[in-house]
């Protein structure tokens, strides 16, 4: 079976600052990868590379065996921490937008039967994320959690192969976060989606997903913290992770975080 995502010896550099180095990874369809690590260890850069928003400095990313397109596309959905929804469209139209863009290259609007079909699909999707009663609201009338539900529905209605989540619940209250975890877990199980989720919260990583990726500096130079990039220091199936490993990872991430902070201060 071809890996959904295969990464071969990937480097990412900005000038003389190395962000990621020697990254190798294979992810199979249907895997749910949670990515944790200290700030500044290239988690978001990694997601932007998968998105096609950034190009690797060296190395290669393959999507289903073919080189990854160099710009974002409908095969990779994304939910950011903020600004993922369109403020000028109601909830229903936010979700309808994807099918409209796909189905009407020139006008960006669907009409007649095609529109009715797309509307039905959008409503079903919104029911699935629990927004079935807010169809005519504008995003500014929604709470943060509801906006993230909307962003999820918007992406999933397009049936992407890969869903990228960039700290999607970072700005939410703990109770709402738990609801969102349950929702994402359910939506993922019901599809053959491959998920990459960045999180700041290690517990979240063990709670959700099948595989945990820890991004951390491979080498430290206290005088030049930017000289060495980060890589994947742990790559474990979630069921194999026990308390001891969690504590180990927590300590290492904290050490890197402190080193990065000291360097930037």
């Amino acid at each position: 079976m071809t890996a959904r995502i295969a990464i071969r010896n990937l480097w990412k550099e900005y000038g003389d600052q190395v962000v990621l180095e020697r990254l190798n990874l294979e992810v199979q369809p249907g895997e749910f990868c949670t990515i944790v690590g200290a700030s500044g260890c290239g988690k978001t850069t990694f997601l932007r590379l998968l998105l096609g928003e950034e190009a690797p400095s060296r190395g290669q990313i393959l999507l289903d065996g073919r080189p990854l397109p160099a710009e974002p596309g409908p095969d990779r959905g994304i939910v950011f921490q903020r600004y993922s929804v369109f403020p000028h469209l109601t909830v229903l139209r936010n979700v309808l937008l994807g099918p409209e863009l796909k189905g009407a290259p020139l006008t960006g609007h669907l009409f007649g039967a095609a529109r009715r079909e797309a509307l039905d699909r959008s409503r079903l999707m919104l029911d699935a994320v629990g927004l079935g009663r807010a169809l005519d609201k504008y995003p500014s009338e929604l709470s943060g959690g509801m906006q993230q539900r909307l962003a999820l529905a918007q992406s999933l209605v397009m049936h992407p192969e890969i869903l990228l989540l960039d700290e999607p619940f970072g700005a939410l209250d703990p109770g709402i976060r738990a609801d969102m975890h349950e929702l994402v877990g359910r939506l993922w199980r019901e599809s053959d989606l491959t998920v990459f989720m960045i999180t700041h919260d290690l517990k979240e990583g063990f709670h959700l997903g099948t595989r945990l990726l820890v991004f951390d500096k491979l080498r430290h130079d206290p005088d030049a913290p930017q000289a060495y990039g980060a890589g994947i220091t742990y790559d474990l199936p979630v069921e194999r992770a026990d308390q001891r490993i969690i504590r180990e990872i927590e300590t290492e991430v904290a050490v890197t975080e402190a080193a990065m902070f000291a360097a930037s201060a």
């Binding site: 998105l51 994304i78 950011f80 600004y83 863009l101 006008t107 960006g108 504008y138 500014s140």
Partner: protein
């Protein structure tokens, strides 16, 4: 007693406080006018309210003896038509180029420095060129407004487009949007209310260019009239005209604000969940 920074007027008090400067101005005028007229009944500088009233009656409601038309309405119609044509055209140009420059880096690289240069030319300095090229008719007046307002609108809208969160554009790309579709469905609808904001801001400049052009070469129009009667020191005509222009400017602004609220409720109800 609360601190001054925490004392807020009630609604009624706010309206009263707002009216106060206008009333004071009217009162000061009245006193000054009375004093001057007492000294010299033929004084033209500060006509009495009665004289102003007669002039308004004559200008706004009685056909002119010379042309048989009601001057104020002819002037108003001529000026508003020029203003609407000029600002409308400038808005169209501003929207087209502003969105293009904001959304397409290649176009921006090619045109942004040129537009920036264009915006630096004082519009009044090219008025003679416009008169030479387009003649003394309507076109040169409309062209002056366009030239004066469009560069500002282009640059303003380009800014607004570039201020849209990058995340939104990326999101639209992951929803299969092409450049054209993203401009049409994501960028354009979001900058329309910002275009109205920009037009409201540039109306003052548009009036300035209109009145300047009319003062120099016209046969009717609000600006033409006040500069014409200036020769006779006809303050009784100039003052009502200035008040009328001010009122028109206020009503235009109010109309645009209400239009924007009506058409783009999502733009005005931000952060009110």
């Amino acid at each position: 007693m609360k601190r001054l920074i925490n004392q807020r007027p009630s609604r009624g008090t706010a309206v009263l406080l707002g009216l106060l400067p206008f009333l004071i101005l009217a009162l000061v005028y009245l006193i000054a006018s009375d004093a001057r007229l007492a000294a010299n009944p033929n004084d033209k500088l500060l006509p009495s309210f009665a004289t102003l009233g007669e002039s308004i009656q004559r200008m706004a409601f009685e056909p002119s003896k010379r042309t048989g038309e009601i001057e104020l309405w002819v002037d108003t119609w001529a000026s508003l038509r020029r203003l609407a044509q000029g600002v409308g055209l400038a808005a169209l140009i501003g929207l087209t180029f502003g969105v293009g420059l904001g959304a397409l880096p290649l176009l921006r690289a090619g045109l942004a420095p040129f537009v920036a240069g264009l915006a630096l030319i004082p519009p009044m300095a090219i008025l003679p060129i416009l008169f030479i090229v387009f003649g003394l008719g309507e076109v040169s007046k409309v062209a002056l407004i366009v030239f004066g307002v469009a560069p500002f609108l282009i640059r303003d809208l380009q800014q607004r487009v570039q201020e849209l969160p990058r995340e939104q554009i990326i999101k639209a790309e992951t929803l299969a949007g092409s450049s054209w579709q993203i401009i049409l469905r994501v960028i354009l609808p979001q900058v329309l209310p910002r275009l109205i904001d920009g037009v409201r801001l540039s109306l003052g400049a548009a009036w300035l260019f209109l009145i300047a052009a009319e003062a120099i070469a016209a046969t009717e129009g609000l600006g033409y009239r006040i500069f014409l009667v200036r020769r006779y020191l006809a303050m009784d005509q100039i003052l009502p005209y200035v008040a009328w222009i001010t009122l028109l400017a206020y009503l235009t602004d109010l109309g645009l604000r209400l239009l924007s609220r009506r058409l783009f409720p999502w733009y005005h109800d931000k952060g009110a969940p």
